[in-house]
């Protein structure tokens, strides 16, 4: 999985409290914070963000978007996967303050208006591609990101090296499994998840 953080590209921000407790004799009254604006599921949100706050906690604690899950908080399980400017990322590894101006899509932002599910969500339902459901939002976001990466011609570890550069990479089951391997499912729904992603491709 691509876990590189998106580049901050917003305007320079006001730093609320830049005191560094490591270098001060007394602890600050409040931790360093900055105003940060994110577009989440199409809506802008400007928050004064603790510099330690990762995107996952911002979504869950500040915006009430608990769809992204905290499985490990260390980028090891993929349960927190969201799309940042269209690319999948472990939101537990991204400092929110560094994402000023970024477009974030979470599992809550995938379905259309009303009752309509995203095709990947529908396929997960139809294939019973989950049990406890805790990894599911991450799996779904990751699958959507992986489909886009393949369409954009990004190779994976198992892509045939003879595949023309820049051409969409066809996704067989081995490709699907490889590309989703950053998302752990302890219930063992993997075969059904691969089925669901295949359904969306075909």
């Amino acid at each position: 999985m691509d876990t590189r953080s998106a580049q901050p590209h917003g305007p320079s921000r006001k730093v609320i409290d830049a005191m560094d407790s490591q270098h001060e004799g007394t602890a600050p009254a409040s931790p360093p914070r900055s105003d940060t604006t994110l577009r989440v599921n199409g809506k802008p949100h400007t928050l004064t963000v603790d510099h330690r706050r990762v995107l996952l906690d911002l979504l869950r604690e500040d915006l009430g978007l608990a769809g992204a899950k905290k499985g490990c908080d260390h980028g090891q399980c993929g349960a927190c996967t969201v799309l940042v400017d269209g690319r999948r990322a472990n939101s537990c590894l991204l400092f929110a303050v560094a994402l000023d101006g970024c477009e974030i899509t979470t599992v809550e932002g995938l379905a259309g208006d009303g009752e309509e599910l995203h095709p990947v969500q529908r396929a997960f339902l139809e294939r019973d591609a989950f049990q406890c459901g805790y990894c599911t939002p991450g799996q779904i976001c990751s699958a959507i990101g992986a489909l886009a990466e393949a369409a954009a011609g990004h190779p994976s570890h198992v892509t045939d090296p003879r595949t023309p550069s820049g051409e969409p990479v066809p996704l067989d089951r081995e490709e699907i499994r490889e590309r989703l391997s950053g998302n752990i499912c302890r219930c063992g729904a993997y075969p059904r998840i691969a089925d669901a992603v295949e359904d969306v491709i075909s």
Binding site: T26, A29, S30, P31, D50, R52, R53, D57, R60, E61, L65, A66, G67, A68, K69, K70, G71, C72, D73, H74, Q76, C77, A79, V107, E108, A111, L117, Q121, R122, L125, E126, D128, F130, Q131, C132, G133, Y134, C135, T136, P137, I140, R173, I176, R177, E178, L180, S181, G182, N183, I184, C185, R186, C187, G188, A189, Y190, P191, R192, I193, A194
Partner: protein
């Protein structure tokens, strides 16, 4: 009513599926409330000893830190039934990672920074965390987990072994293993006066409420425990864990709602683990392949907090006809974290050893391993002499042979090569007992024509809501969409946990009974229903737990195909096929998912899951998901689950056996046996990592002293 005959067994979609795929399903950390605080525990930094001092001031001066709780200032609690829950009650440190403090903060960041800032000093004592088969402190316990006697003996196993035509005497090792459900153990607690409400990630709210009531010395009716959605458990949430006690303590101390979400790295030390097991198996057989003597000895560890004995020799009491049969457990109390349930405790590691030994015996005898098992089918349960309520192991084996294409197998080890890959296939049997407990439920006919079924089931991913609704629809004879269901609330009534593969049988039995009674009342009712409807209650105490004259177990067979890379030592499971006989399958869709999930966890046990108790530090080296490797997508190529039709009138009104655990039982042995078939090398210690396999391959090709020559 017509058209409902197929409700039970039908592949019905999960009722909460839409919530799970849209991210609206709420788990224990996700119940926000005004003023909710977050808490972060402080784990002990010594393997044995006591806390001599705590300086909370560096934490308390940090912004957003609300409180630092330790044994010095935490409210005193009554002794818990489970001593692992006596957190912050004494300076004693029984193992590394035991919680010695809890920092409550306005935010996760504040609590975490506070936990890092608390200064704890210790008086460390020498510790011993290393299990050996001849550990001087090992003893024979009274009971193993599940209430099984530690030792059973029939006939004269030693004499029978000594006089057997073929003798196998082998040792196997299974390392500590970790449950690691995707949702870490989490609780959110809130006090309203003397009423306590907790959202807890638990496999059963009744047990959580009982323990909290006793520890906080409250009447049970002042405590509500909710577990609407639970992100897996696999046994580690079967009873309350420290998170719920800490959350209730912190909420009481601070007067705020508090969430305790345990950090992933802390889980192995505090939520239980599958204890390591050292196995010695002695199998004697006659020339015809009939087992004359079976002796399974297990040595395991427990902590000094409480005794937990992984009952790994118990499946040998069930599996094969042997005139002489001995099974025994020994346990060494060490300064280790406390072991507990992990998916199929006992059966899972025990059947790895027994089914690996059966494969070795088949090889020694020159008998097909499927045939060897069929030749040793018992007439009655070997240990108890009871008749089986149903036993379709042979049918599972034969169905697996057919589906897997076993007949085409060349039995000679190392006979299939594909470039640098060796290819092999293996088989192993599976068993898991039928467990069931009493439960309360109610069914109400509503004036709008719907039915409301309430049962305190917990849906940890099994599809409990869905299958209980199916059972209700079937018993009422109404369409499934007329049945509403409420679960996972301790206020509904008492219920057993989602564990021991007993949930559906236990909850379903009481749901069935309530619905049958309601049907009777409705039959005697004329005219419109009153506003509150008509209700019927059920309590299966005395029925569900009545002694059975039958030995009741599910059975199964696993078939695995592997490739072994002779260059890297990597083993890959190219096919894993299971066939199960588990009574009536109540929801084909969710049942298949559970079987496949169990088999996948068995694949992890075989190949990747490995934990080590560090002799110096005293805790698990592989404590997170970067170091403890659970299977990922790329590891799981082709896993299939099938079942045979099994009618068994001696189970419960649905005719079902549990399915949550049998999928993991025997799957690691099937993989290991396939690796032997591929390589000709017998591995007797899990997991089959590239390092271990490559080392053995090189030694095999270049015996000692030859390497590098």
């Amino acid at each position: 009513m017509t058209g409902t005959e197929t409700v039970l067994g039908a592949p019905v979609e999960r009722r909460e599926g839409r919530e799970k795929v849209t991210g609206t399903a709420r788990y224990a950390a996700e119940y926000d409330a005004v003023g909710r605080a977050q808490a972060w525990p402080v784990p002990a930094a010594v393997a044995r000893g006591r806390v001599t001092g705590v300086d909370p001031s560096p934490a308390l001066t940090l912004p957003g830190v609300l409180a630092v709780l330790t044994h010095e200032n935490a409210p005193r609690l009554a002794d818990p039934q489970d001593p692992t829950l006596a957190v912050l009650q004494s300076p004693h440190v029984p193992h590394r990672g035991w919680f010695v403090g809890l920092v409550v903060g306005e935010t996760l960041e504040a609590a975490r920074a506070g936990a890092a800032a608390v200064r704890v000093t210790y008086e460390a004592e020498d510790h011993d965390v290393t299990l050996t088969a001849d550990h001087p402190e090992a003893y024979v316990p009274d009971m193993a987990n599940g209430g099984f006697p530690a030792v059973t003996e029939h006939g004269d196993p030693d004499a029978a072994f000594a006089s057997s035509a073929t003798r196998l005497d082998v040792e196997y090792r299974v390392p500590p293993l970790h449950n690691h459900p995707m949702e870490p153990h989490t609780s959110t607690a809130r006090w309203d006066g003397d009423r306590l409400t907790v959202h807890s990630s638990s496999q059963g709210t009744t047990a959580v409420r009982t323990e909290l009531a006793s520890m906080f010395e409250l009447p049970e009716d002042r405590i509500t425990v909710l577990a609407e959605h639970v992100g897996g458990g696999f046994g580690s949430k079967g009873t309350p864990r420290a998170d719920v006690v800490l959350a209730a303590l912190a909420a009481r101390t601070t007067g705020r709602p508090v969430t305790v979400a345990l950090p992933r790295r802390y889980l192995p030390a505090v939520v239980g683990h599958r204890a390591p097991t050292l196995h010695r198996l002695r199998l004697g057989a006659d020339a015809g392949g009939r087992i004359t003597s079976l002796d399974h000895e297990v040595t395991t560890h427990t902590s000094r907090v409480k005794e937990f004995v992984e009952q790994a020799a118990v499946p040998a009491r069930v599996m094969y006809a042997a005139d002489a049969l001995r099974t025994s457990h020994r346990v060494a109390p060490l300064d280790v974290p406390t072991p507990s349930w992990m998916r199929a405790p006992g059966e899972c590691p025990g059947m790895y050893a027994l089914e690996s030994a059966m494969d070795e015996l088949a090889t020694d005898l020159g008998i097909d391993p499927v045939e060897l098992r069929i030749r040793n089918e018992p007439e009655t349960e070997p240990d108890s002499g009871k008749p089986f309520s149903s036993r379709n192991l042979v049918q599972c084996l034969r169905e697996g042979v057919r589906r897997f294409g076993w007949a085409d197998r060349d039995p000679r080890p190392g006979s299939r090569r594909a470039g640098p890959l060796l290819v092999g296939s293996g088989v192993a049997a599976a068993t898991y007992p039928v467990l069931v407990s009493p439960c309360a439920a109610s069914a109400r006919a509503l004036p709008d024509g719907d039915f409301l079924v309430r049962v305190n089931a917990t849906d940890i991913g099994t599809g409990a809501r869905t299958v209980c609704a199916q059972i209700a629809a079937d018993a009422l004879g109404v369409p499934l969409d007329r049945v509403r269901i409420e679960v996972a609330d301790s206020g509904i009534g008492f219920a057993p946990m989602a564990g021991g593969s007993s949930g559906t049988a236990s909850w379903g039995w009481s749901v069935h009974e309530a619905c049958v009674r309601l049907g009777g009342r409705l039959a005697g009712h004329s005219g419109p229903l009153p506003g509150e409807g008509i209700v019927a209650d059920a309590d299966t105490s005395g029925t569900a737990d009545a002694d059975s004259p039958f030995a009741r177990h599910a059975f199964g067979a696993h078939f695995a195909e592997v490739t072994v890379d002779t260059v890297t030592g990597e083993v890959r499971v190219t096919r894993l096929l299971g066939v199960f006989a588990a009574g009536r399958i109540l929801n084909a869709r969710t049942a298949r998912s559970q079987f496949v999930g169990g088999m996948t966890m068995g694949l992890g046990m075989a190949l990747t899951e490995d934990s080590t108790v560090d002799p110096a530090f005293g805790d698990f080296t592989e404590c997170d998901l970067a170091s403890y490797h659970v299977p990922a997508h790329a590891d799981v190529a082709d896993v299939e689950a099938h079942w045979v039709d099994e009618e068994d009138a001696h189970l419960n009104p649905m005719g079902s056996k549990g399915i949550g655990e049998i999928g993991i039982v025997g799957s690691a042995a099937a993989v290991g046996n396939a690796v032997h078939h591929a390589t000709g090398i017998r591995f007797r210690e899990l997991p089959l990592t590239p390092h271990r396999v490559l080392t053995a391959l090189l030694e095999h090709e270049h015996p000692a002293g030859m390497l590098g020559a």
